[in-house]
Each structure stands twice: as structure tokens, then as C-alpha cells.
Amino acid sequence: MNENGREKYLSEKKERILKELNGSMNHDLPSEEESGKWRLSGLYDHSDLLLLQNAQTVSNPVLSLASLDELLERDRLREKDGFPRKIKVGRLIKPGKIDNGAIIIVPSTVEEKFIHDSAFNYTEGGESGGTGEGEEGEVIGEQPVRPEQGQGTGAGEGQDASHDVQNSAYDLGKILTEKFELPNLRDRGARRSLTKYVYDITDKHRGFGQVLDKKATLRRVLETNFNLQRIGDINNIDSTDFIVSPTDKIYRILSREKDFESQAVVFFVRDYSGSMEGKCTELVVAQHVLIYSWLLYQYAKRVETRFILHDTGAKEVPDFYTYYNSRVAGGTQVAAAYQLVNEIVEKENLAQEYNIYVFHGTDGDDWDTTGEKTLPELNKMMEYASRIGITIASHAYAANEKTEVQAYLENSGLLEERSDLLRMDVMSEDASEARLIEGIRKLISHEIPV
């Protein structure tokens, strides 16, 4: 980049920082009624059945009951045949509000074609038709700006409908480990062994077993009855009429389980400054859900998670839901977040008892451009942490420029020196899901990156 370009970049940067500072954005959680997507009706959104006959858009009940495994098996075969995976899991996972371990997965896919990018120019997309009174230039209505992150981008009709596949994060972690072949975790060594086994009724089995799994059984029964066409109206199901086959019964069965003695604390740190608006945040939270699930599985749920959000200051939030959904606003000071993590670790004496992981997601902006405050905190963190993974989702407009965080991390030499502890992954904000999972592999693998 030449002098001019550099200058332009800096002045743009200044503008951005000012925008972050002066913007009136806040960190509220999106309210309930906001989560329904609001958009203008376009020409092709109308159709006879919906308008004339008020038909409800219903989703396929059999699909809702189908297991993710089936779809992922298809995907695995795709990879074997040399085609990229097509089922998207990660982008549509949302933490549920009620149960901490519950997440919502809508398996989905997209049919790729050469089409025009109509979202390319914002102003064009915003233009529409209208009717009624009003002078030219007169404002006729307002709509609050709602950053879309945290609302499961474009789950399509799946958004409000109640057919999401409820899966626990544990199961997802299992899927990730097995299907995406993420590496298993190596214990830090000094702690207790990983190879102790206990027996527990965790595995599921059709037909016989120790304890009937009522929920899973009911699913099978429903599926069977759907397939036998015994259910006419899904809004009014008469369960007394069901046919129940013995093979529909699903039991928990006694099985050998690894007993992971070692326990872990994971700190998820997310930059929620104003510049993180849009795709960057989606990317970071999606990756953190995946890492969270993977760790949960690796540690057989014996993982404690802490959630830190930061802009210029840092704060801890109680659950994943808040972490996931809080809106972006404000400026950026990475050091504040690291400092808070160090404080918590110190105060609660966590280093003694736990494996500690820190995952940080940011767009790479930092007002502390040289890292003079951040690096000391990072050094301190490396004294106790098992792994620090920093994800930088860089903006498309800064693609040719190293972000501050990336620059000072690289300059510090820590990435080479302490590559066993510190990993950084830089991707563009348009990264695909495959890239996301690749990124996780990079952050958590044992191999020293070349």
C-alpha cells in the first residue's frame, strides 16, 4: 500500500473509531418481539394460497424428527466423493434460552447458482413502492435499526416455527469430533489420567435396555405414525390412536464411558464493539458455539464456561444466551478483556484446579494499536492457560491490511515462541462454514503450525 493509500486507510480508521465512540448503539439484548424478522413485502412474496386461503406455512414434521446423523452421513459421503459439504450446521446453531446446555439446530442447505447479489448496494435494496399521502422527501415511517446478529441468520421459515431440532451441545460436540474429525483433546499432562472408565446408562438402544427414553421413544412413535399416514392434522394429534411398534422403544443402555477426571474452565471472550456489526459477530459467535460444544463433549460435560464481553471495558455475563445475543456498540480495548480474565483466574484461584482455555473473537481492531497494554496481559495469561485461541474475522474492506491485533501479535514473536499455547486464526468475514471448522482445528490442534 502506498503513502496515499495508507493515509486514506488511517483517516477512514479514525472515522470508524469516531463512529464507534459517538454512535448511540447499545449492548441490549434483542427484545422478544424484535426477533421476528421485519421486512418489506416484495413482488414475489405474495401467492394465492397464502393470501386467498390463508394457508399456514408448515414444515415437514418427519424432517423435524429425522436425525442429524442421516444428513451428516450424506455430507460425509460428499466429501469422500470429492465435493464440498453441503449441510450447514454451524451457522444455524443458537443457544437456547432455557437450558444452558440446549442448543437449537436447523439443518439447512442452500442451492448455489449464479445469481445477482441484490444485497450488494444497500440503497437499492431499500427502495420499494408505496402509496398514499406525503410530499416528496417526507418521512412516513420509522423502523428501529436491528442488527441481525444473534438471531440465527436466515433460518428462513425455520425461524419462528417450532420445528427446530433440539440438540444438546454435548451431542453436537460428539458430531463435530466424529464427523468433522476434530482432534481429540490431549490432557495437559500433570493432571490425573484420562483412561479411567465408569459404567453409565448413557448410550441409546432400540428395542431393549435399562431405562426407557421417553422423549426419544415418542419421536420414533410419531415418525412411524407419520409414515403410516395415521396423523392427519398435525395441530390436533390424537395420541390414543397411535400404533406403537416394539422397535420404536428406545432405551438407555449401560455402557462404558470414559471418565474424564481433568476439568476445564473455558473463557469465551467476544469483542462486541461497534465495528463488529454484522458478519464478524456472526462468525465469531458461531465458532464459539462450536468450540463450546466440542469442549463439552471432550470433557464429558465437566466444563465450566465463563463469558466475557468487551468493548473499551470488559464485563462478565452469566450465560451463553446473553453472550451470544448481546448487541454490538462502543469502541475497542482488547487489554481490558484479558485483564478481566486474569483477575478472575487469580481471584478464584482457578489455575490450581483446572485446565484453562481462552478463546477470543475479534475483528482485529484495537485502539491500543501497538499492544503495549495487551501484550503484558497476554503474557500473564500464558502462565496458566492450556490454550489461547484468538480468532480474527477481518473486514472485507481491510483485506489487504493487517489488523492491529494481528500486527502486534506477530511482531511480538509470541506466536512462534509459544506456539504450544497461543494460536491465532485470521479469516475474512465472508468465511464459509468449512473454513470456520478448519479454524477451530487450527486453534485447538496439537501440531505446531508451520
Partner: protein
């Protein structure tokens, strides 16, 4: 799915009589089915065609964020499908008056399907029957080839929005001279003029000779003529062959080009791929006219269901019910676009204008607005006029020809703009323009328009497929390029190149902070780039 009961059917037959009397024109037989929610679950991913082929994506949530209509030319919630006989769908708890209203709507749709020239390609066969045999074919292939069938469907669907619908249409519409032989064209237009460079006198002599032969030999004239030509110029045949090859595909879409020219598909063992591609292409072409006539089709149906329902004496007493449902369908939204409302009003407006004889040179010359308003020749030709329009036009032309400033003023229409108010952090909707030019431009911008991507011959390498995206101000969705090209490479069986335009750089904040409203529309510079997909690897380089 079961047929509607006999009682309702007889009410509907009454509707048909009344609709015919009013001038609508449709085939005698129709089928009406009662659909439950369960049926809809099956039908909607299959675009309401009960016999459409199976494909696993039909059973998965498909991401629709990118604008569904850009990807598919059909609406999954149609109430009537364009088959022979036409099939329409009804809720099982509709009251009679509602079924009557819907059926009038349906009848107008059927009239439109069966008379509008843009549907010409669907007139000669029953799509459900065709689809059923295709479905069986695919099921059979699937039992032999397994999941590879699904890959071929997937990759074919990847280009099914680029089918040459319009060139297909012209093939239905032969002009007399198109029947003349290509050899004749070549001989007189190319061979004599460019290859031999004969003087004009000689050219005229040849022409006269040919004309003389046609008189002498009648039908065999061409044969006799060219036998002489060939003995005179032995190289003529091979040159003609070359000419034919380079001109035969000039108008064909990517699909056809691949089918006609892929060495890979010509192999016996790959014949099954061709059959699946044909099925996908056929299906897509079938749906094309639907999305190109959305405003007209829905406007036409709304115009007629209102007119016919109100005139139907059998359902007196349900005017208020009707008014409530009808206004839900056909009222103009404060902000937003509703094809039913817009199309209906435009048809009504045109009828009124034509009734007064306003579509005439005389009227256009009048500039006094008072006189314009009073103008009435009393021709009463309005109804005939809109029947002609429903036969001849599609949305693009319909809007372009008939939206005028008087129409905009009459219905208080405007272009609504959206801008960010940074102080209040709200999107403001405002009246951007009430000029007809702006309104038309806005509408045209909303109409379905797939990218124009044509096959170019790459002279050096016959095995390479060169696609040229004729840029129209909007880039392609970048993240879809890779997989789409991967699919084309698989079907084509060789490297695939795509030339397209991309922004040089998106200036600061444009995508994230669309704050400055109108100002950031400018300042985008474009560059041509060339994507290459070879051995399932995508590379990109800048051109120039």
C-alpha cells in the same frame, strides 16, 4: 389429496359458465383437490406439482436469505398449476362463497396460462404427466447409480436459472424465412462475399441463376444448384460444415451447449447424466413464464375475481365477507409492493383509458390537462384492449407501456426510499419520488432478471468451456461461484472459465454502515476477473 365433493364441483361448473360468458377462454376440464396441511408439506417443496421428481434438498430447510425468487422461477404456494387439465387446490373448510371467489381467481389464471403467448412452450403437453415419467426415470436411475444421481440433479439445478427461455420461445415462433436452408445463407452471404470475394456482377449472376432454377425445378432447385456449386468448388462442403458448427449454438444456453458439445457426455456410459439434465432443464423452462408474468397474472386474476364475484347472483349476502378478503389481497400497501393490487389497478386503469379512446395519437397530442381529463370518444373498446394485453405482454412490457403519470397520480403511488437516521438509530421510510420515470425504474429493478451468462467459443481449446457474464451493474453472489462452477465442470467434463465483474474495492463502511443514504450509491469501480475451475480447484485472476 382428494377431489372436491360433487356439490362444490357443481357450484364451480356454474362459475365456469359465467366466466365464459364474460369472455374468458379456457379448456373445459379442470381438476379441484382438497389439500390438508399434510399435503402442503409434500407439495410446497415440489412447487405444487404432485408428481415432481424426488430430491433430498426438498426435505431440508433451504436457506432463503438471498431472495428466494432469484433462485427459483416459481412460487411454492400457487393455488393453481398450469397443467392439462389445470389442477387447483382448496382448503377443506372453505365456505362456499370463498370457494367461488377463489375459483373465479383460478379461472382467470387458467385463462392467462392458456392464452398468454409467454406460456406458449407449455401449451402442447401436460406437465404432471411428463413429470411423472421423469420422476420414474430418476427413481430408476437412482436405484442403479445411487447418490451420483443426486449430484447430477444438484449440479444441473445449479444452472437451471440460466436456461434459454427466450430462445426457446422464438423456436416456437417461426418466421417464414427461417425455413430456408443454411447452405443458401452461407453460399450467398459468406462464401461468395467473404471467401471468394466475387465482384457484384458475378454475385448478381449467381442470384439470377438460383432464381431461374427455382422456377425450372421447383422443390429440387436447391439440390440441383448446389450439385453444381460443389463440382465447381470442391472445398465448399468442408467450409459449410465449419460454418454450421460455429453457428448452430449461437443462441443456446449453457445447458444446451453442454448437452450438445460435451465429449464427456457423449460417452455411452454417461448417457444417464444427459437424461437427468434434460429433466431438470425441462422443468425449469416450464416454470419460466410464471415469474415473468407475476404482476399481470395476479392482476388479471384479481380483476376477474372481483368482477365476476360481484356479478354472481348465487352468493348474495356475502359481500362483506368478500370485501374483507378481497381487500386483504388487493389493497395497495403503504410501503411495499403487491403484484395483485398493482396489476389489478393497472388493468382497470387501462380498460378505462381504452373505453374513452385515450390510447390514440389524437389524445397524446393534447397537452391541456383539463382537456385530457374530459377526453372521451366513447369507443368502449376497453375490454377487448385488456384481453389483447393479457395475450401479448409480460411484466416488463406491461409496466413499461402502461404505467404513466396519470396512473401514479390516480393511486397516489410513490417510490419509497429508506435511509438511516443516525441520531435516532432508526430506518426512515420517506417519499422519494412521485415521478413516473422513477417509479418505473424502481419496479423494473424489482422484476426477476437472472444474470446474462453466455457461452463463448474458446478457439484454442475445444475442451474448455468459457462463460462470459455480461455485466449489468450487479455482481454475482460471490460465495456461490465456486460450487456452481464445480458442478458445471462435473457436467462438462473439462475446465470451466467464468469471466465476470467485481468491485475493485468496496469503499469504507459501505456494506456495514449504509448510513449516508443516497450518497454511497456512486463510487464503485469495477474490474473484470476470470475464474477458472479445473480439477475441482478454483483460481481467480484479474483481466487487463
Amino acid at each position: 389429496m382428494e377431489l372436491i365433493d360433487q356439490r362444490t364441483k357443481s357450484i364451480m361448473e356454474g362459475c365456469k359458465e359465467r366466466a365464459r360468458k364474460a369472455g374468458l377462454n379456457f379448456q373445459e376440464e379442470t381438476l379441484e383437490y382438497i389439500v390438508t396441511n399434510r399435503d402442503l408439506i409434500q407439495l410446497t417443496p415440489r412447487l405444487m406439482i404432485p408428481t415432481l421428481y424426488d430430491y433430498w434438498v426438498h426435505d431440508v430447510e433451504v436457506l432463503k436469505e438471498q431472495g428466494r425468487y432469484e433462485l427459483y422461477p416459481s412460487n411454492p404456494y400457487e393455488t393453481v398449476i398450469n397443467t392439462r387439465p389445470a389442477i387447483s387446490f382448496y382448503n377443506d373448510n372453505n365456505p362456499d362463497w370463498m370457494n367461488v371467489m377463489i375459483f373465479y381467481h383460478v379461472l382467470a389464471h387458467i385463462d392467462f396460462f392458456q392464452n398468454n403467448v409467454y406460456f406458449r412452450n407449455t401449451w402442447d403437453y401436460d406437465f404432471t404427466g411428463q413429470a411423472l415419467s421423469d420422476k420414474r426415470l430418476i427413481a430408476k436411475l437412482r436405484s442403479e447409480k445411487g447418490r451420483w444421481v443426486d449430484y447430477v440433479i444438484e449440479f444441473s439445478r445449479g444452472i437451471d436459472n440460466l436456461v434459454g427461455y427466450y430462445s426457446e420461445m422464438t423456436s416456437h415462433d417461426h418466421l417464414p424465412h427461417q425455413n430456408e436452408s443454411q447452405a443458401l445463407d452461407f453460399y450467398f452471404d459468406v462464401f461468395l462475399q467473404s471467401t471468394l470475394r466475387v465482384p457484384v456482377t458475378e454475385y448478381m449472376k449467381e442470384l439470377e441463376k438460383y432464381n431461374r432454377y427455382t422456377k425450372e425445378f421447383g422443390d429440387t432447385a436447391e439440390q440441383v444448384f448446389f450439385t453444381e456449386v460443389r463440382s465447381k468448388y470442391p472445398e465448399f462442403n468442408s467450409l459449410l460444415g465449419k460454418y454450421r458448427k460455429s453457428h448452430s449454438d449461437i443462441r443456446c444456453d449453457i445447458f444446451q451447449f453442454i448437452l450438445n458439445n460435451s465429449e464427456h457426455l457423449r460417452k455411452e456410459k454417461n448417457a444417464w447424466i444427459r437424461s437427468i439434465m434434460e429433466v431438470v432443464r425441462k422443468t425449469s423452462v416450464f416454470f419460466q413464464p410464471q415469474i415473468r408474468t407475476k404482476i399481470m397474472n395476479e392482476g388479471w386474476a384479481s380483476y376477474w375475481h372481483e368482477k365476476l364475484f360481484l356479478a354472481d347472483d348465487r352468493i348474495k349476502g356475502h359481500e362483506i365477507d368478500f370485501a374483507r378478503t378481497h381487500s386483504g389481497v388487493a389493497s395497495l400497501p403503504r410501503v411495499g409492493l403487491n403484484p395483485y393490487a398493482l396489476g389489478m389497478r393497472l388493468f382497470q386503469y387501462i380498460e378505462e383509458m381504452a373505453d374513452k379512446g385515450k390510447y390514440s395519437a389524437e389524445y397524446i397530442k393534447i397537452s391541456d390537462s383539463l382537456e385530457r381529463e374530459k377526453y372521451d370518444k366513447g369507443t368502449k373498446r376497453g375490454l377487448d384492449y385488456i384481453f389483447d394485453i393479457r395475450r401479448d405482454l409480460c411484466d416488463t412490457l406491461f409496466i413499461d407501456y402502461f404505467t404513466d403519470q396519470d396512473f401514479i397520480n390516480k393511486h397516489d403511488l410513490f417510490v419509497a426510499g429508506r435511509r438511516l437516521n443516525q441520531e435516532k438509530m432508526v430506518w426512515e421510510y420517506y417519499v422519494k419520488s412521485r415521478k413516473v420515470e422513477d417509479y418505473k425504474e424502481m419496479l423494473q429493478d424489482h422484476l426477476y432478471h437472472p444474470p446474462y451468462i453466455a457461452v463463448e467459443r474458446s478457439p484454442e481449446d475445444e475442451n474448455t468451456l468459457y462463460l462470459n457474464h455480461h455485466f449489468e451493474g450487479k455482481p454475482l453472489v460471490n460465495e456461490y461461484i465456486s460450487n456452481t462452477m464445480l458442478g458445471i465442470e462435473f457436467l462438462w467434463g473439462g475446465p470451466v472459465l467464468l469471466e465476470t465483474s467485481e468491485p475493485v474495492s468496496v469503499s469504507q463502511g459501505e456494506r456495514r454502515h449504509p448510513s449516508s443514504g443516497d450518497n454511497d450509491k456512486a463510487e464503485i469501480k469495477w474490474k473484470r476477473v476470470l475464474y477458472t475451475m479445473s480439477d475441482r480447484k478454483l483460481t481467480k485472476k484479474e483481466l487487463e
